[in-house]
């Protein structure tokens, strides 16, 4: 490994009890830090930046679709816009989102540790992430890619656009993801505070753990897939291109062996966040702790057995389609166990209806719709009709955007006081949440309707009878964007003039709330001992309402 010297060079005279934000100064002290908290914050900033880029691409797509005629883009340009949106959102935003930012920041804190197991590897994974991002940015500048984020062959191996740099980007980002996964697995296995058994671990860590398993097991397969595709494109070796004797459906197997489990890389940490927020802001012990923990791991494992449900109309055999369809229903079981447990947690709790809870409720509402429409699509006969329509687009946005991003935003709000030491404006936060929620549903619920009526995806012009739905969807998208900008605005404002946060503003019980807000450089003074569960709240005083 490279021997980067961090901020811990000999001759250090800084105060170890100072906040991690101010312990050392200068850009280099951030870029080459070994502190998991700073790495987490840098990831957060980077991810939000790419979220902005991916979001702007989405707005471009929606603006084009305001009228049935092509007004803004040609077909080829439109392809490039939605590919930028998809590739950036998947590889740069959703996959790293919660684990790399909030996970990095809070995993050692929740375990009562000073750092993750391999701090240098952690920094390396961030640098690799930036390198991968540069490849994708280069792709953007050099004209973009028309293939969609899925890079299906033979189009991706024959089309004229900067596919190679996009492949390099996704390939590189994979390694960042693998290194983070290895780091988290080892940290959770080997570095828990004395007294913290597996059953006393906060559920966020269970979610992150299940995610890490998938990252280590699935990501190498996409790496080899993209590697082969690079050779296919450059040397036409004929593994995936049917004209040269290859098998394009084999590519889809390779691709979805990673890309289906990676859906759970995106959603499992969000499940973890929701498990935290729903319990802490209901001030009630989580309902079904072991059920939620075990279902995270179960989802991770079953998630590896269902990838063929993306390929029902690909030419895959009928037998495989039937098997994949059947197992897909199996994923619904652990997922439903979670949803019921969260609802059960709220029942009889002393619910604090703040912005964190509002985002949690938004998650529950949106994710349930996303999950159930996934079951429609798991039915072979229905999928033949729904495949490649807006119904599918709406479904995975309800899961990915509504699920992962609502969870992400809920987590950011929940842990903002800890990360920054500042409280945000709660009124604006509630208002922002309302706008985001309205905008989101307006954007994507209309797409369910369009899709069910036969509007195919990835077209830049369409029949006039879909216009009303498309216009509602576009209005929704801009509303959603406005809501997100409001959110960004008050969060940034809070850094400047927010109220100072106390150690534990929510009255939570997990270890990260036992240190200062923001935490000191080495997280805790002395050794932390875990002597209670993460959700052992005092009896609720119902007389207070």
């Amino acid at each position: 490994m490279s021997s980067t010297t961090g901020d811990l060079a000999p001759g250090h005279e800084h105060d170890h009890h100072a906040s991690y934000l101010t312990a050392t100064k200068g850009v280099a002290s951030w870029l080459f830090t070994l502190d998991h908290k700073r790495i987490g914050v840098m990831y957060l900033v980077a991810i939000l930046t790419f979220f902005l880029i991916g979001g702007l691409a989405a707005l471009g797509v929606r603006a084009e679709l305001f009228t049935p005629e092509p007004d803004l883009f040609t077909g080829s340009q439109y392809n490039r816009w939605f590919t930028v949106h998809g590739a950036v959102m998947v590889f740069l935003v959703l996959v790293p989102s919660i684990p790399a930012s909030l996970g990095n920041f809070f995993l050692p804190l929740m375990l009562g540790q000073k750092d993750v197991a391999f701090p240098r590897l952690n920094l390396l994974s961030f640098h690799i992430y930036i390198l991968g991002a540069l490849f994708l940015i280069y792709t953007l500048i050099s004209g973009g890619v028309e293939t969609g984020w899925t890079f299906y062959t033979p189009y991706s191996s024959t089309t004229d656009s900067s596919v190679i740099s996009a492949l390099m980007g996704a390939f590189t980002l994979g390694f960042s993801s693998i290194l983070t996964g290895i780091n988290f697995i080892v940290t959770i296995h080997k570095m828990r505070a004395p007294g913290m058994t597996w059953r006393k671990m906060p559920l966020f860590l269970w979610g992150t753990y299940a995610t890490s398993l998938i990252q280590v097991l699935a990501t190498p397969v996409i790496a080899v897939t993209l590697f082969l595709l690079m050779f296919e494109r450059t040397f036409h070796i004929g593994i995936f291109d049917p004209a040269l004797g290859g098998d394009p459906v084999l590519f889809q197997h390779f691709f979805w062996f990673y890309s289906h489990p990676v859906v759970y890389v995106m959603i499992l940490p969000a499940f973890g966040v929701i498990s935290e927020t729903v319990s802490i802001h209901s001030r009630k012990h989580i309902f079904g702790y072991m059920a939620i923990a075990a279902s995270s791991v179960a989802i991770a494992f079953i998630g590896f057995l269902v990838w063929g449900h993306h390929m029902f109309v690909s030419g895959q055999s009928e037998l495989s389609g039937t098997i994949f369809s059947l197992i897909t229903f199996g994923v619904a079981v652990p997922t439903a166990i979670k949803v019921f447990s969260w609802v059960g947690t709220m029942y009889g709790g002393a619910i604090r209806l703040n912005s964190v809870m509002l985002y949690t409720l938004a998650f529950l509402f949106i994710f349930t719709i996303g999950g159930l429409t996934g079951l429609f699509l798991a039915v072979l006969a229905v999928d033949v009709h729904m495949h490649d329509t807006y119904f599918v687009v709406a479904h995975f946005h309800y899961v990915m955007m509504g699920g992962t991003l609502m969870g992400f935003i809920a987590g950011i709000h929940h842990w903002w006081p800890k990360m920054t030491g500042k409280m945000y404006n709660e009124k604006l936060a509630k208002f922002g949440c309302l706008v985001v929620f309205t905008g989101f549903n307006l954007t994507f619920f209309t797409q369910f309707v369009m899709g069910a009526r036969g509007m195919p995806r990835r077209y830049h012009e369409y029949l006039p009878e879909f216009q009303l739905w498309h216009q509602l969807s576009t209005i929704g998208a801009f509303t959603l964007a406005a809501g997100l900008f409001i959110t960004l605005g008050y969060l940034l404002l809070s850094l400047k003039n927010g109220e100072k946060a106390s150690k534990n503003p929510w009255g939570a019980k997990s270890l990260e709330w036992e240190t200062e807000s923001p935490p000191i450089e080495h997280n805790f003074v002395g050794q932390v001992v875990c002597d209670h569960g993460p959700y052992d709240f005092d009896e609720i005083d119902y007389s207070r309402g």
């Binding site: 296995h189 097991l217 084999l250 197997h253 062996f257 590896f304 057995l305 055999s317 495989s320």
Partner: protein, 136 residues
């Protein structure tokens, strides 16, 4: 680390004798000769590949167990390593299931059509997956 939970990891490292390493190396050489020898017997292709993979698995067992010290490592590290192979088998299993059963329904349909004498239109087999011409 919860001290009690991981106390078993505190034991000293196992040092294998020079002789044991040489014995393992000898076994691996013998197995290499075996796999080459079997391949020249002219067994049917299916059996030949199974024997080859079988012998390779035995060799892998010795490399992993003795050279990689999994025999003396924690059970969990063994589980991690074997778990990786399990996911590899999942990948192979599902993908090969697809390759092996493509066109089955069409064939079954054709047979049914022929039997029911529903006309030559359906009797013409649209797909052949057997042979070396590739699929489709």
């Amino acid at each position: 680390m919860s001290a009690s939970a991981h106390a078993h990891e505190e034991h000293g490292e196992h040092i294998s004798s020079l002789k044991s390493y040489l014995v393992i190396f000898g076994i691996l050489l013998v197995l290499t000769v075996v796999t080459v020898g079997v391949s020249r017997l002219g067994l049917p292709s299916d059996i030949s590949i199974m024997v080859a993979i079988g012998v390779a698995c035995v060799k892998a067992f010795f490399v992993a167990g003795w050279f990689m010290h999994l025999k003396w490592d924690t059970r969990f590290n063994l589980l991690v390593f074997l778990g990786g192979f399990w996911f590899m088998l999942v990948f192979f299993g599902f993908t090969l299931t697809d390759l092996g059963s493509r066109g089955n329904l069409i064939e079954a349909n054709d047979n049914f059509s022929q039997r029911a004498d529903m006309g030559a239109k359906y009797a013409e087999p649209a797909h052949h997956v057997e042979g070396s011409g590739g699929h489709h």
